[in-house]
Amino acid sequence: GAGVSQSPRYKVAKRGQDVALRCDPISGHVSLFWYQQALGQGPEFLTYFQNEAQLDKSGLPSDRFFAERPEGSVSTLKIQRTQQEDSAVYLCASSPDRNYGYTFGSGTRLTVV
């Protein structure tokens, strides 16, 4: 596609519910990043994929967060048993190479009620 596509744009989840957020990167982009942006804050790193390999997951806040990119293209960020503090915008970004700047998606705004 022409850009990084994320779905859904908005998600409201009841506390305790599982959610799955999808990222469709630019075709051919090797690097894929997930970031979490809380209200009034800058994006915070969650995890990094190089093709299908998850090389860094040091930013995932708890074991309730899980990300995958099984075929090296589309990625899914899954949050189990959502909590109110998980409410944030989740950004996906891709890059042809880790040394380039990123192209960001529009994000998924998750609200946990």
Partner: protein
């Protein structure tokens, strides 16, 4: 640990006036510094990076390693510059992940 500080949450300037957004960083290695911008209802996009030494939309930024700063400047602000600006540091010893500042909201009034 690396850190990026943007001391101003909000910067309000008049059209035609100079604007400077401050960014300070702490990082023991050799950093790469970037500015990202987010216009209303749009996605985050790259504005400029220090290694390119370019001017984009009239904005420039100089990396000052002595002062560990990467301030963003524009001599004459335009209304279309109203946006959220984020300074970001990319660690050269990592996978390319960014450390972002908290952002500065710029409002340019006519």
């Amino acid at each position: 640990a690396q850190r990026v500080t943007q001391p101003e949450k909000l910067l309000s300037v008049f059209k035609g006036a100079p604007v400077e957004l401050k960014c300070n960083y702490s990082y023991s290695g050799s950093p790469e510094l970037f500015w990202y911008v987010q216009y209303s209802r749009q996605r985050l996009q790259l504005l400029l990076r220090h290694i390119s030494r370019e001017s984009i939309k009239g904005f420039t930024a100089d990396l000052n390693k002595g002062e560990t700063s990467f301030h963003l400047k524009k001599p004459f602000a335009q209304e279309e510059d109203s946006a959220m600006y984020y300074c970001a540091l990319r660690r050269t010893d990592s996978w390319g992940k960014f450390q972002f500042g908290a952002g500065t909201q710029v409002v340019v009034t006519p």
